[in-house]
Amino acid sequence: MGGSLLNFMWVYFKINMQSAMEYRVNFLLQTIAMLFNDGLWIVFWLIFFNRFKTVSSWQFSDILVLEVIVAVSWSLLGIFFGNFMELANVIKDGKLDFYLTLPKEVLSHILTSNMRYHAFGDLLFGIIITIFFIPLIKWPLLLLFILIASTILLSIAVILGSITLYTGSSAELTRAGMFGALTIASYPFDVYSGMVKFILLTVIPVGFITGVPVRLLQSFDLKLFLFMILITVILAIIALIIFKLGIRKYESGNLINARV
């Protein structure tokens, strides 16, 4: 099952790459622009930490880890699950019928059938920062945290997108929710305390995207690490259940689409 899915993702990846290469200049331009865009965030934090030195226990080096996790996890979704932000639109626009009639598993098929080309800029940015600024010893754990962050972001996207199956539309909710999660993950997590911190580590677990990983890279805590894995698995299961139950409620609008 897992092997088949990986194989399927690989086939779609190759097809999407061929499409991208049809517009090479555009692909290159988008990659460079995104690389520059991400670089400007580093400029911002450089200015910020030049003035303030630390935010709670966070230093500039922690921000570099944060930026790598955000950029690479987001880019992995864009490259391999390029429709992750479009689930609500796919359902709303009646394009779900196309996927339902094919033998492949519906959710993974929807998610993998698109690619966000500018994601390569994010990936390149993450790789450059990792190579030049993050110690080699932290790389294995960093890679694991990136995969966990990707899973959390993908699960949130699936949950928000699947709401369309129940309410008719959640495209704007998906956008606001995903960018909200990403924005919270893009600032030092130590600024939160009390009830807010509790919520961000349980009900809306965006604290595990960058906050906990940075803390674990500062000093490893096995209990916290296992808790993070547990929350990630629970969130992924919830996302799958919400989508599967929603699909049972789905009624086709019989819209005829040409998929080019």
């Binding site: 555009n26 865009n37 400029v43 200015i47 935010v55 606001a176 924005t183 130590d190």
Partner: protein, 264 residues
């Protein structure tokens, strides 16, 4: 008479935008989340001092309420993409043959969306700020002056965004410009932090660039109003509007010459 038809365009767009008012609410809630993050971040930084570079915590958060509400709703976020799409898809031709000026049409359309988006965002972000840090000392007499400055801010952004959008006539895809332009306003424009936080040399340069007249100068005027600053900011904004306006008109005229009509 001419003005009247643009007023009608504005009205139609307003009615259209109101149909999708929930979109504005979602964006505004997103800005509310950002302000909440900033409240937490800046509270942390103000824990050992009451004033940073002339800003109290209340002033800092209200400064950010204005910059966020302003920048998230300006043309840089939508207009570049929209013009790019119109040029690429050929939909441009449906707008070009109408009895109005293409650039003026988009100005009125964007203005309408911005007015609605800015007002909604400012109210929601303002409520978050009010709840967590309290009210800003603000005199209502200064409101008309602030509104004039905000209108000029919008216009500077419109001219720059339209120039970037229209360049789709020569470029394959201009959406990547959108991200870079946005980030330049975020940072050099002072949307994320006031320019006073910058190193001196960067502050001097950034304060003179057009991007700071979209976010930093209007927001600083809002939290620290002085009539002298108002005049200087307006004068600089007017200069930038004229400068970018001329470039836009020239570029538009060159672009229209490149339009080829195909039957079908």
């Amino acid at each position: 008479m001419k003005i009247l038809k643009y007023y009608e365009i504005w009205k139609i767009n307003l009615l259209n935008s109101l149909m999708y008012f929930s979109d504005f609410i979602f964006y505004s809630v997103f800005i509310g989340v950002i302000i909440f993050i900033f409240v937490n971040l800046w509270r942390n930084l103000y824990s050992t001092t009451s004033v940073i570079e002339g800003f109290t915590l209340v002033m800092m958060i209200w400064y950010l309420v204005l910059t966020e509400s302003m920048v998230v709703n300006i043309g840089g976020t939508t207009l570049i993409k929209e013009l790019n799409q119109e040029v690429k898809s050929g939909d441009l031709i449906y707008v070009l043959n109408k009895p109005y000026n293409y650039v003026a049409y988009h100005y009125v359309k964007s203005l309408c969306q911005w007015m609605l988006g800015f007002t909604t965002s400012f109210i929601i972000a303002g409520l978050v700020a009010l709840f967590f840090v309290g009210a800003l000392e603000f005199s209502l007499i200064t409101l008309p002056f602030i509104l004039v400055i905000l209108l000029f801010s919008f216009t500077i952004d419109f001219t720059i965004s339209a120039i970037l959008g229209i360049s789709a006539f020569w470029m394959e895809d201009t959406t990547s410009f959108k991200y870079v332009y946005e980030k330049i306003i975020f940072i050099l424009g002072g949307m994320l932090i006031p320019l006073e936080i910058f190193p001196e040399w960067l502050r001097i340069i950034s304060a003179k660039l057009p991007f700071s007249y979209i976010a930093y100068h209007p927001a600083k005027l809002f939290v620290m109003f002085s009539f002298k600053s108002f005049l200087w900011i307006m004068l600089a904004q007017l200069s930038y509007v004229i400068f970018f306006g001329i470039i836009l008109v020239i570029l538009y005229k060159l672009a229209v010459r490149k339009v080829n009509l195909h039957g079908g």
